[in-house]
Amino acid sequence: MKKRAYLITFIVGIFAFISTKTHAELEIVITEGVNNARPIAVVPFKWTGSSVLPEDITQVITNNLLRSGKFNPISLSDMPQFPTTETEINYRAWADIGIDTVITGSIEPVEGGQYRVQFQLIDVLRAQMTGGENSVLVDGRLIATKDHVLEDRAKNIRGEDFRQYAHIISDIVYEKLTGERGAFLTRIAYVVVKDRVSDRLPYQLVIADYDGANETRLLSSPEPLMSPSWSPDGNKLAYVSFENKRPQIFIQNIYTTERTLITSFDGINGSPVFSPDGEKLAMVLSKDGNPEIYVMDLATRQLERITRNRAIDTEPAWAPDGKTLTFTSERGGKAQIYKVDLKTKRARRLTFEGDRNLGAEITPDNANLVVVNQTQGNYHIARQQLSTGNMLVLTKTFLDESPSIAPNGSMIIYSTLHEGKQVLSLVSLDGRFKALLPATDGEVKSPSWSPFLL
């Protein structure tokens, strides 16, 4: 099911209309941080067939590695040769231009219109040391090994799976070289707001691959859509819709498009977030007078009130263990981030730097808090180390909001203002890599990064 994610056309909700694969509306423009990244060579995969390939695998892998902020793939014109397998590699030539890692590959046509994609990940420095033929002692005998070949895989794939397989190769390479799981096979959900005067259904809930490809509209509405948030299995989105002239929380299966109304209380119905086990939904309701954090058991629909305070409490986010929530509260005067234990309901303030801190998320390793920090009227994405409390402002863009962290914790997607329009933007958790995702049409906001999908 998940594997076929790209191919599924989403069908009609109340205000939705059938949407086919739209033109990629988002494009990633890297603005900072590639120069310090690790150089790598992705040699164009050799195609032995005669037809036109459905997708340029090498380009997708190159873009993925570049956009991870961790790698700087060199351009074709800088490559000393175009080897297809490790046996064809002139290690010296690559080492001379400072490349210590090379990816080679080939694509052959096979029976039934499929393609055989083979690739190798090669450690040039290791190969130089061993001459490409290392020997190790095994049971008292010398055995030749090729320990400079870090990965060597081949798989038969269908034409429509090219992009997905390119993401899988990227994930393998990324994990092998960084020790961290790759997040290339993930998606983002976001809200697009088209022209509110000329467009009858200006508010749209959209899903795309993490890189903006395969954009698909899930819902279109005349009234605002807010706060999409993924279920941990990647099959559903919780969101807020004003389609009935007031906020209501819905959960929608993105494959069947089946939709369930979750809350429709008087006042605010907002900020729905699935618990890590997918069984609960944290949310904000103001049915008792002012915004408070609640947790709903999705099986029984039972609500548990978590906060009880006359000030604004909003923006719940789950800790990875599901035992605590962070949230934004004005109980101390101005908005700051607090953490509440779901059992004891006791809350503790976490942020102290700057005038305000809002919209927190916790990194998957539970080590950092990512927030919107307001200092002297500027709103920027910042990261606070939970163990030390040290805060580092990561962005320099304007009116940053809605940060969402990639499931491997490497990257943050957020909404910002660029040339007078709301656009999505990326920043690595260390703040070194920065990119913009300008849209061709409309404003783009409320990004939410999916969990791992495979």
Binding site: P247, G267, T314, R356
Partner: protein
């Protein structure tokens, strides 16, 4: 309607009497009958005229009443239209207190709603685009509630008021100028 029916009954009865009296030559009785007939015709005609006048008067009264109602409704509609052209109050950055300059407008809305207890309003709270969308939903609600509290303190029934916050999702003016920000920090009284 009713008067018309009565008139028809009379017209049927009178010719019947005349036919019965024509059996022999004109006599005193016949002449008397003729006079009686003329008399009764006169009475009938008078009665008919009277009843027609009454009907006319009734219709006129009804029309006048409808006219008065229409005028009242027009006045109400006019007042409502006028109020709807002054439906927005503006707030300071991150604040939700009603500024003194908007009290007069809100008082007019309150008086109108008290007078027209069958009408209800939706108060929409909005914010500028600074701060997070979720926080702004909370702030927008606080602004809506500030307007609601003001109206209730002026005697409007709580059943006539609903508050909906749109946060920063529906700006009145797009862009990030101070002017746009100021125009977007608002509470809007919308008649349902």
């Amino acid at each position: 309607m009713l008067t018309n029916k009565k008139l028809k009954t009379l017209l049927v009865v009178i010719p019947a009497l005349t036919i019965m009296a024509c059996a022999s030559g004109p006599s005193e009785e016949e002449l008397a009958a003729e006079r009686a007939k003329q008399e009764s015709e006169r009475v009938a005609a008078e009665q008919a005229a009277q009843e027609a006048a009454q009907a006319e008067a009734l219709a006129q009264a009804e029309a006048a009443e409808a006219e008065a109602l229409r005028v009242a409704k027009d006045l109400m509609q006019q007042e409502k239209t006028e109020l709807e052209s002054q439906q927005t109050v503006y707030f300071d950055f991150d604040r939700s207190t009603i500024k003194p300059e908007f009290e007069a407008i809100l008082k007019k809305h309150a008086a109108f709603l008290v007078k027209n207890g069958n009408l209800s309003v939706r108060i929409e709270g909005h914010t500028d685009s600074r701060g997070t969308p979720e926080y702004n939903i909370a702030l927008g609600e606080r602004r809506g509630q500030a307007v609601e509290t003001f109206l209730r303190n002026e005697g409007v029934s709580s059943s006539q008021i609903a508050v909906v916050s749109f946060g920063e999702e529906k700006p009145a003016v797009s862009g990030t100028s101070e002017y746009a920000f100021a125009q977007n920090r608002r509470g809007v009284v919308v008649y349902e």
